[in-house]
């Protein structure tokens, strides 16, 4: 349920003509909810622009895949290229928006998503390049971890993927804007109160006073 909600909420950030790179998981699912009449050019870092859904069996191309090595199709007008070209797009500031998952985000816009010392060893892949180079960074994640701890921290405790780059945070509870001076609550998810969000958020919410007693149903 909350997964769908987050994916649908991400989709509201798609604007006509945007070049977008979506991370694996919920961000990728948001492509199912691109508003009608809005054209979004999806980029995949292994070397594709304007890709579409999975192919039918028997119609795949073994050399057309997404960054998770899963089969995809290319839409008419789509392009394939090598990884150096792909990261010129990404690092060079040609991608309008990236949407990524995270382990932690903090009120300074820093994000931790690639490493848990002693527990998770994967390597950063293309995440650092995407977070540095894309014009707008949206983090989409559950508000708390499986133990109920806030994933929106005053300061990230895990190794950073990038410092001070996040523009927006979308969770199953709320939407935040990350400004230079800190975090602003922008929206509440249906049925969620501001005091609940405040309780579940370790970071300081600068405008929380304006939200007291507001209940969106």
């Amino acid at each position: 349920m909350s997964r769908d909600y987050i994916a649908k909420r991400i989709a509201k950030e798609f604007k006509n003509g945007m070049y977008v790179n979506l991370g694996i998981g919920i961000p990728t699912e948001s492509a199912n909810y691109i508003p009608e009449g809005t054209q979004v050019f999806l980029q995949t870092e292994n070397g594709g622009l304007m890709f579409g859904p999975k192919p039918k069996r028997g119609e795949s191309n073994p050399d057309i895949a997404n960054a998770g090595a899963e089969p995809i199709t290319m839409l008419p007008g789509g392009a394939v290229f090598d990884v150096a070209t792909s990261f010129a797009m990404i690092r060079g500031g040609h991608i309008d928006m990236t949407v990524v998952g995270a382990l932690e985000v903090d009120e300074l816009g820093s994000i931790a998503s690639w490493k848990i010392p002693g527990k998770l060893l994967t390597g950063m892949g293309g995440a650092m390049d995407l977070l540095y180079g894309c014009k707008r960074v949206v983090v989409a994640m559950t508000h708390t971890d499986k133990h109920g701890n806030s994933k929106i921290r005053k300061k990230c405790t895990l190794p950073l993927t990038a410092a001070g780059v996040v523009d927006m945070i979308i969770t199953d509870k709320a939407v935040f804007r990350v400004a230079e001076e800190g975090l602003y609550l922008e929206e509440l998810a249906p049925g969620v109160t501001a005091s609940e969000v405040e309780q579940l958020t370790e970071a300081t919410i600068l405008n929380i006073m304006q939200w007291e007693h507001v209940l969106i149903t």
């Binding site: 870092e45 292994n46 070397g47 594709g48 999975k54 192919p55 069996r57 028997g58 795949s60 191309n61 073994p62 050399d63 057309i64 895949a65 960054a67 998770g68 090595a69 899963e70 089969p71 394939v80 290229f81 090598d82 990884v83 150096a84 990261f87 990404i90 690092r91 820093s110 060893l121 994967t122 390597g123 950063m124 892949g125 293309g126 995440a127 650092m128 390049d129 540095y132 180079g133 190794p159 950073l160 993927t161 990038a162 410092a163 001070g164």
Partner: protein, 236 residues
Amino acid sequence: MAVQITREEAVKKIHNKSSVMIGGFLGAAVPLKMIDAIATARIKDLTVISIGAGYRGGGVDIGKLVLNKQIIKYVTSHVGTDPNLIKQIVNEEVQLELSPMGTFVERIRAGGAGLGAVVTPVGMGTEVEDMAEKIIVDGKPYLLFKPIRADVAVIKAHRCDPLGNLQYKGMSNTSPVMATAADIVIVEVDEMVDVGEIACENIGTPGIFVDYIVKGHSYEERRTIYEELWIATNKL
């Protein structure tokens, strides 16, 4: 000039302790037959340079070299798809050298293009700072990474003519950049064609970069192999 040889001859170009670049991306568009040949030949103590580990779950493509414990060093940006490789890294059987993906690719490009370094802002403010030298250019801080080259690059393309000109079928991934950055470049192709059959504007990697050509699976065979893999792993 490029020469067509058998897989058995090609694999003899790779020795114990060789550094080997392998084209492709997390198992997609990799040189399947050459990887099998390296696994069968049990060449050991390899330094493998690849953008990521093999197909998700491990044991497929490059993952076969991991299962055989043929690798002592892995130069990459991502190992998350292969639990066997992660285990060997944690046990210190395999040394890991990480760079962010875009930096990894540029380091190989620099190695092939005669450049002395890659200078990038990516990784500033993270522990990647400890993996590189910090330098200031026009008042802005950057990280300086050294180029990467290899003894042998094993890459994958769709078609090849006798001059070694390569045409790619889909995403060329890391193959074009790796073709420039190794002392010996071996390409595995779906099919051989005559000179002139690949129009000059469709040549993805010019033959100047290619040393040896090896015939791989046909395109149709490869599609069957990948569809079976994708169906077995619920991706198709």
